[in-house]
Amino acid sequence: MHELAVTEEILRKAEEIAEQEQANKVTEIYLEIGKLSGIIDESVQFYWDALCKNTVCAEANLHFKAVPARIHCEDCGNEYELEHDLIPCPACSSMNIKVSDGDEFILKSIEVEK
């Protein structure tokens, strides 16, 4: 359900830009999804396929770029990326770690045909 709401928002924004640009159709949509955003790209694609029919975006391809969440070990300085679960530092086993980035969910750019 969460992805339905954000997919509607992507479509609304893409339609708005297509109108501003007086485009015939939107061909490509580039999205960036942070690891911690809670958004699953397969779900966005699923809702997109249903929502984009009969719109200026009907033939648009969605491109997803995953943005990792980075983890810095405060004890040994090691840098690593969050995979699935939050894990202790693989180098020194410390849990004195700080997580940064990976919260974003951004519409980066779109391509339109005039």
Partner: protein, 221 residues
């Protein structure tokens, strides 16, 4: 056909966030402090909220917005039962509240008669994290029986919160819950979070948590 690439770089949830900002401005103009309470189902949100409200009233004039996925009024009735205005917000099956639903819910409240609005989000550790509601602070209520691994499995909910209330601490002797492991996970995600241990059943720790909240409320009055 000529094609054109348009750079946008905009957060997808901009519309939601704009409504949230408007709500926050409106509440501040009325000197109202607000909090968004998130938790998994069964963490004891409503029980902690009832205890907290009893500490705050009558000195502070409170109201509650109750988010639920279906039109069940059990939680709202509990709050109304202690004499505090409660508005039920039905998300129509959605797994989280959003800024627009909260704005609509607030229209049913007399904002001139309030100091504090508490929003009880839908019980869920995943989706509510992404949706700002326009409240001043976000709080997660966790509980001992849920296990100490929650920050490791659901990291995003702990990122944008100002306080974590760990409920059901009266169950510590009966549950294998490693408090330092739990805390380490929370602090890795959010080093500035305020941490409170409470039991809605025995009342333990509620005074400290309510006192902290009262201090925040007083600062916007």
């Amino acid at each position: 056909m000529p094609t054109k690439r348009i750079e946008i770089v905009q957060d997808i949830l901009t519309v939601n966030d704009q409504i949230a900002e408007e709500t926050n401005r409106l509440l501040h103009s009325k000197h109202i402090f607000s909090v968004n309470i998130m938790a998994s189902p069964g963490a004891g949100k409503t029980s902690v909220i009832l205890r907290t409200l009893q500490e705050l009233t009558p000195e502070i004039k409170c109201a509650v917005l109750e988010g639920d996925t279906a039109p069940v009024t059990i939680d709202a009735e509990k709050v109304s039962g202690i004499g505090i205005p409660a508005i039920q917000i039905n998300t129509g099956g959605d797994c989280h509240l959003n800024a627009n639903l909260v704005r609509k819910g607030m229209q049913s409240l007399d904002l001139n008669a309030l100091d504090f609005i508490l929003v009880e989000n839908v019980g869920n550790l995943i989706c509510p994290a992404s949706w700002k509601l326009g409240t001043d602070i976000n709080v997660v209520i966790a509980s001992i029986p849920e296990g100490d691994d929650k920050p490791y499995k659901y990291p995003n909910i702990y990122r944008g919160i100002q306080a974590l209330v760990l409920n059901k601490v009266d169950l510590k002797p009966y549950v294998d819950f490693n408090l330092s492991y739990f805390k380490a996970g929370i602090l890795a995600l959010n080093p500035d979070v305020q941490f409170f241990e409470v039991s809605a059943k025995t009342g333990e720790g509620i005074t400290d948590w309510a006192a902290w909240l009262k201090k925040q409320i007083k600062e916007v009055e």
